[in-house]
Amino acid sequence: MKLKICGMKYQDNIEQVAALQPDYLGFIFYEDTPRHFDTKIPNISEHIKKVGVFVNEEISTVIEKVNEFNLDAVQLHGEESPYYCSILRSTKLFSNDTPIEIIKVFSIKDKFNFDILEAYENVCDFYLFDTKGKLPGGNGYRFDWSLLNNYPSSKPFFLSGGIGIDQVEDIKNFKASQASKYCYALDVNSKFEKEPGLKNTSVLREFINKLNNKKTMNYNVDDRGYYGEFGGAFIPEMLYPNVEELRQNYLKVMAEPDFQKEFDQLLKDYVGRPSPLYFAKRLSEKYNAKIYLKREDLNHTGAHKINNTIGQILMAKRLGKSRIIAETGAGQHGVATATVCALMGLECIVYMGEIDIARQAPNVARMKMLGATVVPALSGSRTLKDATNEAIRDWINNPVNTHYIIGSAIGPHPYPDMVTRFQAVISEEIKWQLKAHEGRENPDYVVACIGGGSNAAGTYYHYLHEPEVGIIAVEAAGLGVDSGESAATSVLGKEGIIHGCKTLLMQTNDGQITEPYSISAGLDYPGVGPMHAHLSKTGRAEFLSITDSDAMEAGLELSKLEGIIPAIETSHALAIFGQRTFKPDDVIVVSLSGRGDKDLQNYIDYFKI
């Protein structure tokens, strides 16, 4: 069966939907609808037929539109007569001298008298059966398809009216029934929209895949360690035994009941999970949407980072390692690692860029109090990227007794997947917490800031394959995406290799990794986890970038409106409400990844408090 997607309106959206290669795209020229088409059709594949939809329109106007927009078909939704149709069948009327397809619509309620078709048998190419309702089309519900058992004709028809992703099974049953014998195409519209005229491409993709029994797009890692084309393990041979040992064991160890029990127990008693899902009432009022905050800031040590370090320290112990190394940018991951090392009595060495040591002094002191050795990374730009290099070099030099606790969803496979799985507790909790608040597990959007992408990966994890949940990823624009001082990797990055994985990466034309900039030390990374590169490339996630100043203002705003001082990383995620609008009944869950204590000095300096 062919597919027609109707009610297209916006140029970008038309291009995105065309990329899904439907057979027909419909443009509604009837003016009394929010889906009224009044712009230009961008260049799309010539294999996609463009259909103009009209309701009792003057014939001359129809002809004009066919010529102007190069339409391949017209769909007649009113009481157009057989004579009307027959005129439009004349090739002579159109500038390119080719016939257009005529689709005549009939609306069906509970009953339908098929006798009316007879007069149209010779003057149109297809019928389209839609649900009769208040509007001429787009009413959003189905008619009883079994009525088509009495279809007397052999003319191919389009099936329309309220078809959505929930009806994939019904469609398959219909396809298997006699009633579908002459069904030529499905026509979809309102059930695949974010708002009238704006189609949701990820739900459409899912629908198409499901109809074709195709395995749906996989956003998880595959068995080779890739997310689509991103990921892998581009490591020097010196690291191969360590990484391979981890790769062979991580899933096995994580599946052990003992491991799970210990992990869950520590998350509960030591970290303080579950972290609350808080309905931010005043923030919601201000931005006219339902905003929930997932309070990772209330975890022990003040951020989501500890979910991962608890998991990895247990992993390290199972693998018999006695020495722990880590890199840190803002110091949050360093503190979380030093904390779990103290908890387990293991030696801890944290690499931290010399510049970050200066700008995150309180966290350096914390790590030292917790018994860790903080080693300044003096090479390169002396920030997070270089701290990561130093940690990797340490691991090369200490391959046997050492485990490297990477702090984000980055690095060679299996790190991105392992870190994601440890952080997935975030979305696991959101599901049942939101159910209690809203009566449903799935919000309309999940939102998180992205440095390497660990809090984001955890926030998205259980929603990756729920197409109705929009995913919003927020990167740091620094002084502005085009300013040369930015960390917006999805915009500025090209495919490349950093720290053992193929991903989007900020680099020169010559392949040298460049220095990102953000006011927040935790978002200041030139790459992005491979899962996020894949989410960006496939369009599954919407990527936004937020400047330093917008983030700082959003941090101050949350403090004043809700009494919560967020980490500057988190402030980036909060700043999207100033940049993007939501519908009043949209339920949006924002990962409040960390608290602002560590950033107090930055806030003081910025706002001259």
């Binding site: 393990a233 490591i235 041979e237 270089d386 070099r393 046997v400 010559d510 392949g511």
Partner: protein
């Protein structure tokens, strides 16, 4: 036959020297190569500098940073090497990290190498499997030998696998370390050298990392076909410039 393969057939222990292209000065590349050959070095690794050299210690990191500051790029290096085969006969290998080659285009990169007479590549962060699945055909099309590393932690099984897809020599990393890390070889290393020597691999081995003087060169080549010196040479040109390369090489070989 590729120059690397012919060189490996000579009846002698081989001395290979690594240097960072564009260091100490941007235009030293050709002079360094010519001087090394003139003083009896058997093979040269030309380091294509990278911003984030994960497998390297401070000496090569610093020289790489300086070379990039001097303006070294892939294109500049190829321009410098354009006429290198008019004056130099020994095997030349480019050693660098994968990302710059990936950005240049792996095939375009390999073609330039062939055009200018480069014989092989060492790319520490290009994994054996990825090479085998995606790039081996391209390397072979342009007559390039790819050299793989093994370390004391590499399992026998994996060494045999690496041996099976190598067609030059195997780069034996002397110990678990980044470049330039240690001085002198202990019992652990000699046991490892012996273990590998006894595996009767198809490809001969050349030992690198931690070789800095006549003593370590002699120790290493007792068990292998040759040895590679990197950080010690880079340190030498840092201190003494490029006019006393003869001294450096003579001390190693005598």
């Amino acid at each position: 036959m590729n120059r690397i393969q012919s060189k490996l057939q000579e009846d002698k222990k081989l001395l290979s020297i690594y240097f960072t292209a564009g260091y100490p000065n941007i235009n030293d590349t050709v002079t360094i190569i010519e001087n090394l050959e003139k003083n009896g070095v058997d093979m040269i690794e030309i380091g294509l500098p990278f911003s984030d050299p994960l497998a390297d210690g401070p000496t090569i990191q610093d020289s790489s940073t300086a070379a990039l500051k001097n303006g070294m790029t892939t294109e500049v290096l190829f321009n410098q090497l354009k006429d290198i085969r008019k004056t130099v006969n020994i095997p030349l290998i480019i050693m660098g990290y994968f990302n710059p080659m990936f950005q240049y285009g792996v095939e375009a990169f390999c073609k330039k190498c062939q055009d200018f007479g480069i014989d092989g590549l060492i790319i520490p962060d290009l994994p054996v499997d990825v090479y085998h699945e995606e790039y081996q055909a391209i390397f072979e099309k342009y007559g390039l030998i790819n050299v793989f590393l093994i370390t004391p932690q590499t399992s026998d099984e994996r060494i045999r696998y690496i041996d099976s897809i190598s067609n030059g020599f195997i780069y034996m990393v002397s110990s678990a370390s980044t470049t330039g890390a240690q001085s002198g070889f202990g019992e652990e290393q000699t046991a490892y050298f012996e273990r590998i020597a006894n595996m009767n691999l198809k490809n001969q081995q050349i030992i690198g990392f931690g070789i800095s003087n006549n003593e370590t060169f002699t120790q290493a080549t007792k068990y292998s076909k040759g040895a590679i010196i990197g950080s010690a040479f880079v340190k030498h040109v840092t201190k003494q410039g490029i006019n006393t390369i003869d001294n450096f090489v003579n001390v190693i070989l005598n």
